[in-house]
Symmetry: C2
Subunit: 329 residues, 2 copies
């Protein structure tokens, strides 16, 4: 096989005359061709239609304390094995829109319009992509929040701080709500990241939504077909879901892992963003052993888009095998 | 973890009143929500913009002779491991559109409009999806064909048999052209599949294109940046490509394997659609050893959409690790 690059155009073998061509193609410069496809993807779970809507990505240089219980060289090797550029980590974000029982239900809301501006369009894409997918934010009936990190809640507000889903009931985990709205917890929060999260949550839920939310309990369906299940550790009230209809069933994991490579591959790693690393690891192993045993497909908020996969045991960890893209539904 | 499905809506904990909701969501029934996203995906290779455009899929019950040198139980086990439904196989199709050196270049054309009708829209989606991606078939400068199977050439014609890319030069592998246009070869072709392929190729290239094609040679660039490389066995003139610009390089494999799971996983398998199974296997191993050694990403026509992946050795075979979807370019 000849792999040397040659710059000469292959000589035509002269069998037939080529048709006359325009010297410059008008199409080559078409503006559409310079934009990624609006990143949404649909699949069915029984009677439920799931639309995965990308909120974009965050590519960043990771710090020494990115994984608090692993050496930097180990982390570097794992990320290189996951085909990331040296020293860099990529995190993806994918909220869901469900057509379920005649209602439109949003699950998590992405980084929001301020992050969209600050990231120069790398994330905060949920609003635009959900509109591209044919949804009107004003017609969303219900928004379900899994936990109170910025990449899940900041899309609840528009750029000017108003509710982004003005006619929706906003459902939040009762335990999560209690933790972040507790003034004592806020006063005891370490300066920096945790204090910033409290401040952000007060801005979103207090200033923005005027506390118009409905807390929900684990072990119950938040909407018919969407069962809330406890999966704490990442945050005190972190919630996953079992989505089911007829014989269809998918486990919506939220942040049980972040990007599966390296975090499903290395389930013992405690990332700085897991509030309680020990508990998060226990949850991760419990959930992944369960989805492997039950052969449940997993929808991961931080899996690469479109984020639906099968989970297999792989040595001491797990491997997420992306479900093939179905070009028709 | 409580996985029992409960049909009662979670009782609201009563912290705040929910806003009034319309009884039925107008959005839930919106027509867009029932269609898959137009399946195209863009990435850059140096200065070249690649748009992968799905032509859809073919889900079929495989016959005993699907793999000519493996027992049916082995095949069944491998396909089940690849998460296919019992007895079923899925094949995906993904032609490319390249913005390259000021021109618009199509690489392979999918199953075409007749297959689109016959498959009830499961495949033959290339034309619609390329238009959704912002391309005008009338403004395509060049069409490059890898080999003369129906899923690669039938998109060259419209439903009424006219050229689908009326202003494009059509480039074909010289060896492939010679084989399928040879009347002696056609007369010796076994009845059934091979005779059907000859008939189809005469219809596409003779009746449809009036032989207005330009044969190209291996080891040369068919357009600047797109090097044609011999990868025979699947057909006598089967061609792959190295696409390169600056430091960017991708191996466009065409049909060196079909769906990588099971065909990269089991490189020794000879599928009925490999015209010379022995030669196809030799090519497959040579190409995959090369892409592993050179760490070349591979774009596969039959890989699940969007079909770009890294290749790793995996036991006696290979594993294709899909590249994560980049939501922005």
């Amino acid at each position: 096989m000849e792999l040397t690059r040659r710059h000469a155009l292959a000589a035509a073998a002269g069998v037939a005359a080529a048709p006359l061509l325009p010297a410059i193609s008008a199409n080559a410069a078409a503006p559409m061709a310079d934009k990624q496809a609006p990143s949404f993807y649909r699949y069915r779970v029984g009677d439920i239609l799931v639309t995965v809507v990308s909120d974009g990505q965050n590519v960043f240089k990771y710090e020494d304390n990115f994984i608090v219980n692993a050496r930097k060289e180990e982390v570097a090797a794992a990320l290189e094995k996951a085909y990331m550029a040296p020293g860099m980590m990529t995190i993806y974000f994918a909220p869901l829109v469900l057509n379920i029982g005649g209602k439109v239900v949003v699950v998590d809301t992405g980084n929001g319009p301020v992050a969209n501006k600050n990231s120069k369009g790398a994330n905060g894409l949920f609003a635009d992509n959900m509109i591209a997918a044919g949804f009107d934010p004003a017609k969303v009936d219900t928004v379900v929040i899994s936990h109170f990190h910025t990449d899940h809640v900041n899309g609840l507000l528009t750029a000017d701080g108003a509710p982004a889903f003005p006619n929706a009931e906003v459902l939040v985990p009762a335990v999560e709500w209690k933790f972040w709205m507790d003034d004592g917890e806020m006063s005891r929060a370490p300066a920096g990241r945790m204090a910033g999260l409290f401040k952000n949550n007060r801005n979103v839920f207090d200033a923005g939504l005027k506390k118009k939310v409905t807390p929900y309990e684990w072990g119950k369906e938040v909407v018919p077909g969407l069962l809330a299940v406890e999966s704490i550790g990442h945050t005190p009230g972190h919630t996953s879901y079992v989505l089911s209809s007829g014989s269809g069933k998918v486990f919506i994991q939220s942040d049980v892992t972040n990007n599966p490579n390296p975090f499903a591959t290395n389930p013992g790693w405690h990332a700085f963003f897991d509030q309680d690393g020990e508990v998060a690891e226990k949850t991760r192993r419990r959930v992944y052993d369960m989805v492997v045993a039950e052969k449940l497909m997993v929808q991961g908020f931080h899996y690469p888009f479109p984020g639906l996969g099968h989970v297999e045991k792989d040595g001491s960890g797990y491997r997420v095998v992306p479900a093939p893209w179905n070009p028709v539904i």
